[in-house]
């Protein structure tokens, strides 16, 4: 079933189009990797999908335009984790994760045991349970990234938009977070994750969107998207391919001169 669809989505900053004419339909149970070079418009597209910036074209959640959905309902259904998410006060990891339950609380309603369970579950998914009482300013970069992901997981939204969730992590935690995102998708969510690591993207994602210059250059299964020609066209690099455990992987290998 289609959860999220984009039709002719275009975002302009002044006259410059950061995202232009993006079309897709994405279904539940899918982990989508949004890849592409710096400045391709990945972050802008994700923000448009979360209704955080004005865009032309139509984004629909369950067939309903985002603008027509009540703010709180939208917040319950679409969670967003910003790239380099700031945390302005030294909150504990548990307090931070609990903020993810805000969309589910009616005004004046206090947060209940149900919420507490969900907070614990989100912390355990992101493996930050041991850090629950530590404040965010005392964490390492990797611990911090996982705590922030826990906050986004705690929303338990049907659509999870995450911007570079593994950028600051070591290989162990990169694999761990990708597993979490994949499981989130397989349990019925739609996850769209901005990624730079082609190996992780190919290994874990069900589907890839390759962006260049604001448009979708290619959209499909990882092995269809990460061809030599596509990688070269998008990133200006020649790639090498290999196989391990029956899975194909792609390595960016050599720069190609612009001319």
């Amino acid at each position: 079933m289609t959860v999220l669809s984009a039709k002719n989505v275009t975002v302009r900053f002044d006259e410059l189009a950061a995202v232009s004419h993006v079309n897709f339909r994405a279904t539940e149970g899918t982990l989508v990797g949004l890849i592409g070079p710096n400045g391709a418009g990945k972050t802008t597209l994700v923000r448009a999908l979360a209704n955080l910036i004005l865009s032309e074209g139509i984004v629909k959640l369950d067939g309903q335009r985002l603008e027509a959905i009540a703010r709180r309902t939208l917040a319950q259904n679409v969670a967003y984790l910003a790239q380099g998410q700031p945390v302005h006060w030294p909150l504990s990891v548990r307090q931070l994760t609990t903020l993810g339950r805000l969309p589910h609380r009616a005004p004046f309603q206090r947060h209940g045991f149900d919420d507490e369970d969900k907070v614990e579950r989100a912390m355990s998914l992101a493996s930050v349970t041991e850090l629950a009482d530590r404040t965010i300013d005392t964490l390492s970069g990797g611990e911090r990234a996982r705590a922030l992901l826990a906050r986004a997981l705690a929303v338990e939204a049907r659509v999870l938009l995450v911007d570079e969730p593994v950028a600051a992590l070591d290989p162990y935690h990169q694999l761990e977070i990708m597993e979490v995102l994949r499981r989130y998708a397989e349990e019925g969510g739609l996850v769209i994750a901005v990624l730079h690591d082609l190996v992780l993207a190919e290994r874990f994602c069900h589907r890839l969107f390759l962006m260049r210059d604001g448009g979708l250059l290619c959209d499909g299964a990882p092995h269809e998207v990460l061809t030599d020609d596509n990688v070269q066209a998008a990133y200006r690099v020649a790639s090498a391919h290999g196989e391990h455990d029956g899975q194909r992987f792609t390595l960016p290998w050599r720069r190609i001169d612009a001319d």
Partner: protein, 330 residues
């Protein structure tokens, strides 16, 4: 640091409420030079009643309202701007109110004792209108701060100009003394001028708790959690402007309470902006009432001005807080 907030917030609330009630009562009981009203046998019951209800009650009420306003607005602004240095004067309404009052002094528009507060209110509202005019239709936090700084500077310059051109040294002195901030010699009329604005302002500010919590993750994330940063900003700025503008109109400039009180409360209730609002309101009231008792203790000389005392105590205290938190961070 593993401080994740209080295990017993009700204890903090109980302590704060008890302090406010105690200090309010003390404010009613203690007079100039520490004279204990009920024990003084030189005055008759009717005089005692007049002192209690017409001199001390308005003063205590203004201390209660004013301190609550400064504490709550300081905490809300620090949450909104995500900056522990924010204080209620930042939005420009208090310097606008001061200028409005000074204009009344300067032009000698003494239409009764309420002319100065009315001038202050007009000044505060003009400053607020100017703030939103300057910041545009979709104001972001940085633009608002800069506009507030500009308004403060301009209102300050105009106030200085009034002093510079003051027709007599007495007029200048009167202006300066008024600006130092005081709750002495205020009547119930002053309370009635300030109270409605303070109430509206406090309601606006206290309604933003959850939005402020969400904003501690930045504007985008707050929006994705279902809050409108613009609406929260409007409520905090408008609420602070109305409440603090009205307070300055009746009491002059009283600094440092709005800045320091949230810092006092954080170790007790944690860093959540929403959990800080009510305790800061109560603690602000307690601190203001206490400071207003302190100013009337000296028997001789002119009465100390409340704004002078809050700054005298507040500034070193604030420095100590900063040094301590830096040492903890190191």
């Amino acid at each position: 640091m593993t401080n994740a907030g209080p295990s017993r917030p009700w204890l903090v609330y109980a302590g704060l409420i008890a302090s406010v009630i105690g200090l309010f009562t003390l404010s009613l009981m203690i007079g100039r030079g520490g004279v204990w009203l009920p024990a003084s046998e030189n005055v008759g019951a009717d005089v005692a009643d007049i002192i209690l209800f017409e001199v001390r009650l308005p003063r205590a009420l203004l201390g209660l309202i004013g301190g609550a306003v400064l504490g709550a607005c300081g905490a809300a602004l620090q949450g909104l701007l995500r900056n522990p240095l924010a204080e209620p004067g930042l939005v420009g309404a208090s310097s606008g109110a001061a200028l409005g009052a000074v204009v009344v002094f300067y032009f000698g528009l003494f239409g009764g004792q309420m002319a100065v507060p009315m001038g202050g209110l007009v000044g505060a509202l003009v400053a607020l209108g100017l703030l939103y005019g300057l910041a545009g239709r979709r104001p972001d936090v940085m633009t608002l701060i800069l506009a507030g700084v500009a308004i403060n500077a301009f209102a300050g310059a105009l106030t200085s100009l009034a002093l510079n051109l003051a027709p007599s040294p007495f007029a200048a002195l009167e202006i300066v003394f008024w600006m130092l901030g005081s709750l002495a010699d205020r009547s119930m009329d002053h309370v009635w001028v300030a109270a409605p604005f303070a109430a509206i302002g406090l309601l606006l500010v206290l309604s933003t708790g959850r939005a402020l919590d969400a904003l501690s993750l930045g504007q985008d994330t707050a929006k994705s959690l279902g809050f409108s940063p613009g609406w929260a900003t409007l409520r905090v700025i408008l609420g602070t402007g109305l409440a603090v503008g009205a307070l300055v109109s009746v009491a002059g400039m009283i600094g440092f309470i709005g800045l320091v009180v949230p810092h006092l409360m954080r170790p007790l209730v944690g860093y959540h902006p929403s959990r800080l609002l009510l305790p800061s309101m109560l603690a602000g009231a307690a601190v203001m009432l206490a400071a207003d008792v302190v100013v009337r203790l000296p028997m001789q000389g002119p009465e100390l001005k409340l704004g002078v005392v809050t700054a005298l105590i507040g500034a070193p205290f604030f420095l100590m807080l900063i040094l301590r938190s830096r040492r903890a961070a190191a």
